[in-house]
């Protein structure tokens, strides 16, 4: 492992720790943001997401103008296809059932939550299942591909990205300002060490930009879940693994800004560029959340959880993993990287998240509400 790889992995580990710490302190739940709009008519968690996306759009565009982004739009995003929205629906359903998105599961798990560990297990299983349908899904993707080579909305219309991106950021910023004027950023959370959601959203936007400057690509974690599944499968059924194109191909290529070396990678159980970029973030988020919980003396593992909630978390993890592979990409990748650049894949994904979260909320209400652990005294 070269020095530049070591620097990138160490930097990403520190960024991941900061992300995990902030998310735990604020309970910054992206799944809850979409879910609560439908389940409780609450917009409390969606506001910081608007701030995160708007501020990220502004900062990414400023970096692009300053020639600090080596590749525009961000690497690994592709022209849109109709199935992107299907992936968003499946992902939205899964994240609500799992009780957290792909990053939410990590920070809750880091603080000792068993249900999130169960959802994480589901994510590995779902990633393995996707490998079985990958070829079929690819054919659907080709079938529903939009007749354009444009990746972003500005590319589609042939104009400057600055005007469109900054207009979007300004509209988001105006909403945030109005919410501040109306006192809607005030949070009644009484948890010790609570960090207001707007501060965490601002911090996450800055950390997202630092990630891009360090490694030339926005945050993402889910292909590494597939790598984890592939690693397990390589021990349990190595013969079958060798027949799965999803785990044997290395379709991803990336050049780290630090050393300019082109590396390839994929979902297979190898230490490649995907592992370099995602593994430190995953470990950092878990570690940062664990540190935050330890400092507050709140790290506890409650082993006895309701069966219906455990089943729901496991099923949600499986469905969420399928959605992230089908999209392709997770909510963090799209909301924190693609949407700020007006990437069409990401906009379709978010369009799918909404009905998915609505459906997930309906299922949650039916399955969870009847059970209770109350006792009178």
């Amino acid at each position: 492992m070269g020095f530049s790889v070591w620097v990138v992995m160490s930097g990403l580990m520190m960024i991941g720790m900061a992300v995990g710490f902030l998310m735990h302190r604020s309970d910054f739940c992206m799944a809850g943001a979409f879910r609560d709009v439908f389940l409780f008519r609450s917009y409390r968690l969606i506001r910081p997401l608007v701030l995160l996306a708007s501020l990220s759009a502004l900062l990414f565009e400023l970096c692009r103008i300053a020639d600090l982004l080596p590749v525009y739009p961000f690497p690994w995003f592709a022209p849109p296809a109709g199935v992107n929205i299907v992936g968003g629906v499946v992902f939205g359903l899964g994240m609500v059932m799992a009780g957290g998105c792909v990053v939410g599961v990590l920070y809750k798990m880091g603080a000792g939550n068993l249900l999130s560990l169960i959802a994480f297990t589901g994510l590995l299983v779902g990633s393995a299942l996707y490998a079985e349908i990958h070829s079929w899904w690819l054919s659907l993707l080709r079938l529903t591909a939009f007749p354009t080579s444009a990746v972003t909305v500005p590319q589609l219309f042939g104009g400057s990205s600055t005007v469109l991106v900054l207009t979007g950021a300004a509209v988001g910023g105006l909403c945030c300002w109005r919410w501040r004027r109306d006192g809607l950023w005030v949070d009644r959370n009484a948890a010790e060490g609570f960090i207001p959601l707007w501060i965490t959203a601002t911090g996450l936007a800055v950390l997202g930009v630092l990630t891009v400057l360090l490694c030339g690509i926005p945050m993402g974690v889910t292909t590494s879940y597939a790598k984890g599944a592939a690693l397990l499968e390589s021990w349990l059924a190595p013969g079958h693994l060798a027949t799965l194109p999803y785990f044997t191909a290395t379709p991803v290529q990336h050049t780290l800004p630090l050393d300019g070396i082109l590396r390839s990678g994929g979902a297979g159980p190898n230490f490649d560029v995907v592992a370099i970029l995602q593994l430190p973030l995953i470990l950092g988020i878990i570690g940062g959340s664990w540190l935050s919980a330890q400092l507050l003396d709140e790290f506890r593992v409650v082993w006895k959880v309701p069966f219906n909630q455990g089943s729901m978390a496991f099923a949600g993890g499986i469905i969420m993993a399928l959605g992230s592979r089908m999209s392709p990409g997770c909510n963090v990748w799209h909301l924190w990287g693609g949407v700020p650049q007006l990437t069409m894949q990401s906009l379709l994904f978010v369009g799918g998240l909404l009905p998915g979260a609505w459906l997930g909320g309906k299922i949650l209400q039916r399955v969870l509400a009847p059970a209770t652990s109350s006792q009178r005294s």
């Binding site: 249900l115 609570f194 959880v305 909630q309 949650l364 209770t372 109350s374 009178r376």
Partner: protein
């Protein structure tokens, strides 16, 4: 006054809020009349904000206290 305890430690949102709201709705009359006090034990940090906010919208008071690594939310009639 009667008392009722719900131990929902280990559970995350939205189940924490859904379960508490279901019980508060069921026992709303007793809570409003000051005949019942509910105690919720939770380690879900978000619940320390969402549960008090939801019950206060129903005209019921909630206090939060940190215990040994978790939180106790006491739900009772306003003014008690």
């Amino acid at each position: 006054m009667k008392s009722m305890k719900m131990d929902i430690r280990g559970q995350i949102c939205p189940s924490s809020l859904l379960l508490v709201l279901r019980e508060v709705n069921r026992l709303h009359r007793e809570l409003k009349a000051g005949q019942l006090c509910m105690t919720i034990l939770t380690d879900n940090r978000a619940a320390t904000g969402t549960i008090p906010e939801a019950v206060s919208n129903m005209g019921i008071n909630a206090n939060v206290a940190k215990l040994d690594g978790y939180y106790r939310i006491t739900i009772h009639k306003q003014g008690d």
